[in-house]
């Protein structure tokens, strides 16, 4: 490259194109890899073009800008978070299928190069944790929590936009890395000294650093926002021990985000200092200490596991009690268990590196601390089972996920106890046994939770139920596919197959890797079923409409409003008299009442801050990755100017006249009176318009 373009493009040149290497050194393997990589890159480009042309064709840019991108409404931001998570989920699942295919054919070689395989497992892990799981749970908390505690929005709506913008920027960076390759090959944990400049001078690790850093900043801000909202914005009478359990788990997750995200920000920032400014924090020479990185990373990484799992626990709690038609068994015990898990999560990080040189005493202490977490988790499992006990259970789609979860999660927990014994860990450390274990926790735990939550709250958000038949197919395919894909990995781990291996030379592994491949195909099928379910549901939305808003005979406040809810959520902020607030109203015959008056409602005004941060965040991170310093300075300057200008803004709210609220509410109430209520046997039929028969003392529907 000559000097005239160097200032503009930095170190970006033609070799970043995914097919460049194959053009220079065409061998069968490099051509196959180039075709796969270029295919993925063109999918990104085609996808982006389709979106741009589609929006232009349908003249929807203004609508997108006003109704979505600049909206401070927590419900819309939540939906955008979830949409982002689903797109990233699709990519990361496809990557997983390629990895399973490689290992199924991997005896003596396979078809992927080691470098390509390294990028696949790194992006798969990075995406699944930071750009699938985190936005998914952040989106669901965003949508549901304010409705459950009876408020109109989060405490800081514009900061909420910025959170979304930062995550979107990180996700965009990971997507761009498909087109202008490569991404890191250092795994989602990015351990130095492999990720130091001496071993890895290319742009890959830098992509990883900035994508993850953006995500951690986003989650820190989200955590602050959620925690403050739950502390300060509960409706009158919503005391702590009346909070729905999902809100409790949201609070604990938020607190964990506030305290556990900074360690990762520190770890990636220090690694960036090593790489960009020649610091020696984690290098192998000049007094650097890579164990500091590993401690910092897992001081984030272990609480992160509970950030991921607690909201799912909350969702399952809501699902079990709603579809068993019973109040949650052992509410107090569940709250205490949630808090205990949140506290204990900070005391076990060292079990991620039992084999890295500390004394046996320290390992023993952390092993015991790890096993302690089994106690509150066990309490939860028993509480859920006792919630189901003698309930009138409807095996709806969320319940299928929940049943799969409760059995598979216990199994995964038991293998966790096995791994918590340091002496056993020495044997299976860094093998596929570990990979099987954490997928066993995160797929039935987190992912099933999120999918159950989506099926559960979708009718609330969009006003129509998701189609049941394809939902069941997806759920069963997920359960079966998961078992086939990951149970063999336990066996492979015990047989000694290391994780992250591109090829192997032991024929005994083959039957297991082939079985796992079949599982991966079934998971792909499950993804297809999810897509078909969405398609069919949108097509039949008028048949499945639930405008009254309570399709499952729900218990908490979010079911008390129309589906979809008005942007202000509640025409009048409700007063809470007990746990299961909405069920209490229904039992006392006080649901759907006309309030005495409709005061004006003050709402946050639209703001472009989220979009600005998304764009400048992407630009800063991209510029840093490719050494395009002008871009970094320009984008950073714009961000600073935007933040300062925002401080000068005074028209940050708008007022909705009470008269308009009254009209909307009375219209909806008229619709409620005109709707025929249904009992639970008709829940899955077209008769379900979202109005359940009122519960009668002792009566069984």
């Amino acid at each position: 490259m000559n000097d005239s373009t160097h200032w503009l493009l930095g170190r970006l040149d033609a070799s970043a194109l995914p097919f460049w290497d194959a053009l220079q050194h065409p061998t069968t393997k490099s051509v196959v890899n180039a075709v796969i990589a270029s295919g993925a890159a063109s999918l990104v480009i085609i996808g982006a073009l389709v979106v741009v042309f589609g929006l232009t064709w349908l003249r929807r840019w203004g609508w997108l800008w006003r109704e979505w991108l600049t909206s401070p409404d927590h419900k819309k931001i939540g939906i955008m978070f979830i949409a982002l998570a689903l797109v990233m989920l699709a990519r990361a699942v496809i990557e997983a299928v390629f990895m399973r295919l490689q290992q199924a054919l991997g005896l003596d070689g396979g078809f992927l190069t080691a470098d390509h395989f390294g990028q696949l497992f790194t992006t798969h892990g990075t995406i699944m944790v930071f750009f699938m799981a985190m936005p998914f749970l952040t989106g669901i908390i965003n949508y549901v929590m304010p409705l459950q505690i009876g408020t109109r929005d989060l405490s800081f709506p514009v900061m909420n936009q910025i959170s979304l913008g930062l995550t979107a920027a990180g996700a965009a960076l990971v997507m761009i890395s498909l087109v202008l390759a490569p991404f890191s090959t250092g795994g989602w944990t990015g351990y130095p000294s492999f990720t130091e400049r001496a071993a890895n001078p290319g742009a890959g690790v830098d992509y990883w650093i900035w994508a993850v850093t953006l995500s951690t900043l986003s989650s820190t801000l989200s955590g602050i926002n959620f925690a403050v909202t739950i502390y300060k914005r509960r409706a009158p009478g919503m005391r702590w021990m009346r909070l729905p359990l999902f809100t409790w788990t949201a609070l604990c997750t938020a607190i964990l985000m506030v305290f556990a995200m900074p360690p990762l920000t520190v770890a990636t920032a220090l690694l960036a200092l090593d790489r960009y400014l020649d610091f020696h924090l984690f290098t192998a020479d000049l007094g650097g200490n890579m164990m500091n990185y590993i401690n910092l990373f897992w001081a984030f990484g272990h609480p992160e596991v509970y950030i991921l799992i607690l909201p799912a626990f909350g969702i399952f709690s809501e699902v079990f009690s709603t579809f068993a038609g019973k109040t949650l068994y052992g509410y107090t015990a569940l709250v205490i268990a949630t808090l205990a898990i949140a506290v204990l999560s900070f005391t076990v990080w060292l079990h991620h590196f039992f084999t890295m040189g500390q004394s046996a005493h320290i390992n023993a202490i952390f092993g015991i601390a790890t096993m302690l977490i089994g106690i509150p988790t066990g309490v939860k499992i028993y509480d859920w089972m006792l919630t189901l006990f003698r309930g009138r259970i409807r095996l709806s789609v969320p319940m299928i996920y929940a049943s799969g979860f409760i059995m598979l999660f216990v199994l995964g927990g038991l293998t966790g106890i096995v791994l918590a014994v340091p002496s056993v860990d020495y044997q299976v450390h860094n093998t596929l046994f570990l990979v099987a274990h954490f997928h066993n926790m995160l797929i039935p735990g987190l992912l099933f939770g999120m999918l159950a939550g989506t099926n559960f709250w979708f009718p609330k958000a969009f006003g129509f139920r998701l189609e049941e038949r394809w939902g069941r197919r997806a759920a069963y395919a997920w359960i079966v596919g998961f078992m086939l894909a990951f149970f063999p990995l336990y066996a492979l781990g015990v047989l000694g197959m290391p994780r992250r291996t591109v090829a192997f030379f032991t024929p005994a592994y083959l039957p297991w890797t082939l079985t796992a491949m079949v599982g991966a195909v079934i998971i792909l099928l499950a993804m297809t079923c999810l897509l078909v379910q969405l398609w069919v549901s949108v097509r039949d939305r008028h048949l499945n409409a639930v405008p009254i808003g309570d399709p499952w005979d729900g218990r908490s406040l979010e079911w008390a409003v129309s589906s979809p809810p008005p942007e202000y959520n509640f025409p009048v902020i409700p007063e809470i008299h007990g746990r299961d607030a909405f069920m209490l109203e229904k039992e006392r015959g006080k649901a759907y009442q006309v309030p005495d008056e409709y005061p004006d409602i003050v709402l946050p005004a639209n703001s472009a801050m989220g979009v600005i941060v998304a764009v400048t965040g992407t630009a800063i991170a991209f510029g840093l990755t490719w050494y395009q310093w002008w871009l970094v300075l320009l984008a950073a300057g714009i961000t600073l100017a935007a933040v300062i200008t925002r401080g000068f803004c005074r028209d940050t709210t708008r007022t909705l006249p009470g008269e308009e609220v009254r009209r909307t509410h009375l219209n909806w109430l008229a619709q409620v009176r005109a709707t025929v209520p249904i009992d639970r046997s008709q829940e899955q039929s077209c008769a379900n318009r979202g109005l359940p028969l009122p519960p009668v003392e002792g009566a069984i529907q």
């Binding site: 820190t220 602050i224 305290f259 520190v266 610091f279 020696h280 924090l281 007094g287 001081a299 600073l640």
Partner: protein
């Protein structure tokens, strides 16, 4: 029902009482949002404290990693560090005076005066710190020399960066004062900046005792 709408959130059930100076009865307007914002800012401070805490821990573990390069005894200038400490402590006092002026004084002159003195002290701190770093660089104390110096230069300049950002924020708030006067939002900004300013003072005391004194011990 009207009693119900009057108190829309649980926050307003109890009188607003966040930690730190509360503006009280004379500043009713914007009190609800102030309580929420200041509480949120305290939570952010806790998060930021983790950031510094981890860098302190990293520094302590890296104290021995000088790799034959210059260590604390060769590089640290206690007079400079002490002077910076004084600048920052006095600036915290003057910001305290500004907060009192905000709460009790009707005219803006005292407030703006104290804020300007605080800003000068803050800028003086940053300038002197840069001069200190410059001297360290001249003595061969560059971050690329050793793990110890890397740890020093990832912790202490981060504090300096925080002070610089706080100065920018202070300038922006003075601008808001000029444009919008002393309205509820400017007051909210000043209260939050005060928390940040005192927080940075506390972090500096940690740096002075742990990094400088601890490094020399």
């Amino acid at each position: 029902m009207s009693a119900l709408t009057a108190r829309q959130t649980a926050a307003t059930d109890a009188p607003a009482r966040h930690p730190g100076i509360n503006l009280g009865h004379a500043h009713r307007e914007g009190e609800e949002s102030r309580e929420e914002m200041v509480f949120g800012f305290w939570v952010f401070m806790m998060s930021d404290m983790i950031l510094f805490g981890l860098l302190f821990a990293t520094y302590v573990t890296m104290l021995g990693g000088t790799a034959g390069g210059p260590g604390p005894k060769e590089l640290f200038d206690m007079r400079g560090a002490f002077f910076e400490t004084m600048l920052l402590l006095v600036s915290s006092f003057t910001f305290g005076m500004a907060s009192l002026a905000l709460k009790y004084r009707d005219d803006r002159r005292a407030l703006v005066g104290w804020l300007l003195i605080t800003l000068l002290l803050g800028l003086g701190f940053v300038a002197h710190e840069l001069y200190d770093f410059h001297k360290m660089f001249e003595a061969g104390g560059v971050p690329s020399r050793s793990g110890f110096l890397s740890a020093f230069f990832s912790l202490v300049p981060l504090h300096g960066l925080h002070v610089s950002v706080a100065c920018v924020w202070l300038i922006a708030l003075l601008g808001q004062l000029a444009v919008h006067g002393l309205d509820a939002q400017t007051k909210n900004g000043l209260i939050r900046l005060a928390i940040l300013w005192h927080f940075l003072d506390i972090v500096w005391i940690g740096i002075f005792s742990l990094v400088y004194l601890g490094g020399l011990a």
